[in-house]
Structures are given as structure tokens and as C-alpha cells.
Symmetry: C2
Subunit: 208 residues, 2 copies
């Protein structure tokens, strides 16, 4: 077979390409800088300084649901449904191919944990995980992020609009900040409970 | 805050719930049984027995692009675009919350590798990663799987149909088996090249 094209090879696995300029204007980098890591199995209290930074806080408010040395997750400010969460690496990585192997593995692990936590906090049992790379794929913020989007049962018409809106068309409503604070707290606490309930990694591996 | 509801807690992280009956009729379990693991950094030749099992092979043909002790990935038999790949755990896990922590982390790691490999093999630089959980979220096969879907630039009309079709409406075309064989080979080889080019895990971690 022919070797992969030079253009393709160039952009695969290249976390070093991006200029400081990109991250200076990136809203997700700003969140990552303001909200430091905490132990997800022992989250700070809702009223703590860690979750309520001072005047440097972004506007609109950010409702963090997970924060580790590598990753940060928070409620989408224009949710497609209640409990719509974004999970991203702390560092500025435009596409999934720009993240490190360690970041990718940790995102995979926490997609599972956050999915369960969001389902517990919202009571909605079905959900989509979506991650868009590039303009043709409807990526809006050029900092790699996974969406976790609860899917309550909807009548057909609303369901169609939901799907169109997920990929950048149609209207989305702003997050209700009064509802968001207790919801984010429930998600953080559900993450902690789920991590406490986990068997040690070795015994959870299927025998293959 | 109120504790999570019993119903919600029951289905989180519960890989043991599912009966043999479910996996016996599952097309992805069948693929996982027929196609055993190989070393992704040293894939078998296209004409090898490992990739061309005998009469027990499923119909339509399966074009495997990755196979590890925990995971298997293959071309979607009704692709939304050329290079549309599915990645799933070998074991029957209905939703993302049913997979083990080890499976979730490995899926995260290989989503990154397969994304780069599919981009190299197809030349398409934008793509979606989608994973649907439950009927309300348009999950069709009840065995957890991630879609990797290249997104060539499309005119508006085709793009709208693409999005609708991704979530279960509209028509999808069958995989062209003559095109699929060399495409799957290019993806397997790109995976191997990418894994060879990786720095050891420790040095790839960002300093945080």
C-alpha cells in the first residue's frame, strides 16, 4: 500500500504545533487555568473557593463537575438538555488527534464515570457521547471536548430539532444558573460515590 | 443533597447484569468471537487466516481494523462516509456505563489512534466521534460502540441529510466490499505506524 500522505502524517499526534495565541483566546483554556485540580473522589464543598473563584471568574459562570491534573469537565453554557456536560483536556488540544495518549485514556475512563454520574443526577437513562473534530464536523470551540448529552424521551418533532441542534443548527438556550449550581453539585457527588464503589483496577479486568 | 435514586444506582457500572441470551444474538459479540486479538503494532497480512476466517464468517463480511484482548474495531457495514469505523469492547456491554474501567480507558486511548489512522487512510481531516446509549439516543445495536465518522466537506443539503442519518433516520448505503478490503488494510497499517511512532507513555505525559 502507499504510505500515508505527508499532509496527513503531519497533523497526527502533534500536541506541540499550537501557538500560545490559540490558547490565550480559548474559553476552555481560561476555565482550565481558573479552576485547579481537586480529588474527584473527595470534591470540594459547593461554597468553597476552589469552585467559586474571585472576580477573575469567567462570565457566564462555570459549573465544574470534575477537575484532575489532566482534565476538566463542566456544564455546557448552552445545554441541549439538562445535565449536558463537556469533558476536555486542560491543555489546549484542538482535535482528538492532538491529545496525548495519557489524556485520551483518562478521557475514556472519565466518560464512563461522568455518564453514570449524569444519569444518576438527572434520572435520564439514555444519552449521547459526541466529540466533533474540525469545522466540517461542526466543532465550534477549537479545544478538543466530549459532549455527554442526556436524551429524555421526546416526541418526534422535538427529537429532530435536538439532532439538528447538536450539530450546530437551530437554537440553544442559556444555562439556568439557579438550577445549574445544585445539579453540578449532584454530579460531583455522584462521581465521588462511583469512584468509592469501584473495585481496584486489576480485579475489574475481564479474564481474557 | 438527596442520594441518587435506587433505579439510577442499579444500572450504573453493572457489567454482570446481562444474560447469555443477549450476547448470543448480538452481531458485535459474534464478530468478537470470530476475530481473535492480534498485536495492533504488528497486524496480520490482509490474506491471513486471522482476518479471513472460514465458513463461520459473518455475512456481510467484516473488515477488522483493530483487535486487542479487550476491544475490536471494524468498518461499519452501512457507512455514513468512507472510513466509518466502529470500536467496541469484546464483551457484551449494552451501554458505556456497563463497560469496565479498563475497557473505557483503552477505548479512549484507541479512539485517538483510530481517529488519526482513519484520517491518514481516507485523507479526510475532519470527523465526528459518536457513542449512543439507549433507544432515545438512537442506539441500534445494544452492544456499546463508538462511531468514528469522517466528515468530508459537503454541500449544505448533503450535510443536513448526513446529520439526520447519523441518528437513525434517512438511508444509508451498504459497504462496498471491493473498496473495503484495501481501506481496512490501510487503517490497520496506519495504526501500526502510529503506535511505532509513539514516545514511551511516561514521557508523553504533560508536565502538570
Amino acid at each position: 500500500m502507499a504510505p500515508p500522505s505527508a499532509a496527513a502524517a503531519q497533523s497526527a499526534f502533534d500536541p506541540g504545533l499550537h501557538h500560545a495565541h490559540d490558547s490565550a483566546s480559548c474559553p476552555f483554556c481560561r476555565i482550565a487555568v481558573i479552576y485547579g485540580p481537586y480529588d474527584p473522589a473527595d470534591p470540594p464543598a459547593a461554597e468553597s473557593d476552589a469552585l467559586n473563584p474571585d472576580a477573575s471568574a469567567p462570565n457566564p459562570a462555570t459549573f465544574v463537575v470534575l477537575s484532575t491534573p489532566l482534565l476538566v469537565a463542566f456544564l455546557d453554557i448552552m445545554p441541549l438538555s439538562r445535565g449536558h456536560v463537556l469533558l476536555c483536556p486542560r491543555e489546549h488540544r484542538p482535535k482528538l488527534t492532538d491529545v496525548t495518549a495519557a489524556e485520551a485514556q483518562e478521557m475514556g475512563g472519565y466518560l464512563r464515570v461522568l455518564s453514570a454520574a449524569v444519569a444518576q443526577a438527572t434520572g435520564v437513562r439514555d444519552w449521547n457521547v459526541v466529540q466533533n473534530n474540525g469545522a466540517a464536523a461542526a466543532q465550534v470551540v477549537p479545544h478538543c471536548h466530549f459532549h455527554i448529552i442526556p436524551r429524555p424521551e421526546l416526541r418526534d418533532k422535538r427529537s429532530e430539532r435536538f439532532t439538528a441542534t447538536m450539530f450546530g443548527r437551530g437554537t440553544r438556550e442559556d444555562l439556568d444558573e439557579d438550577e445549574a449550581a445544585p445539579l453540578a453539585e449532584r454530579i460531583r457527588e455522584a462521581v465521588a460515590e462511583l469512584l468509592h464503589g469501584e473495585a481496584p483496577p486489576d480485579s475489574s479486568k475481564p479474564k481474557l
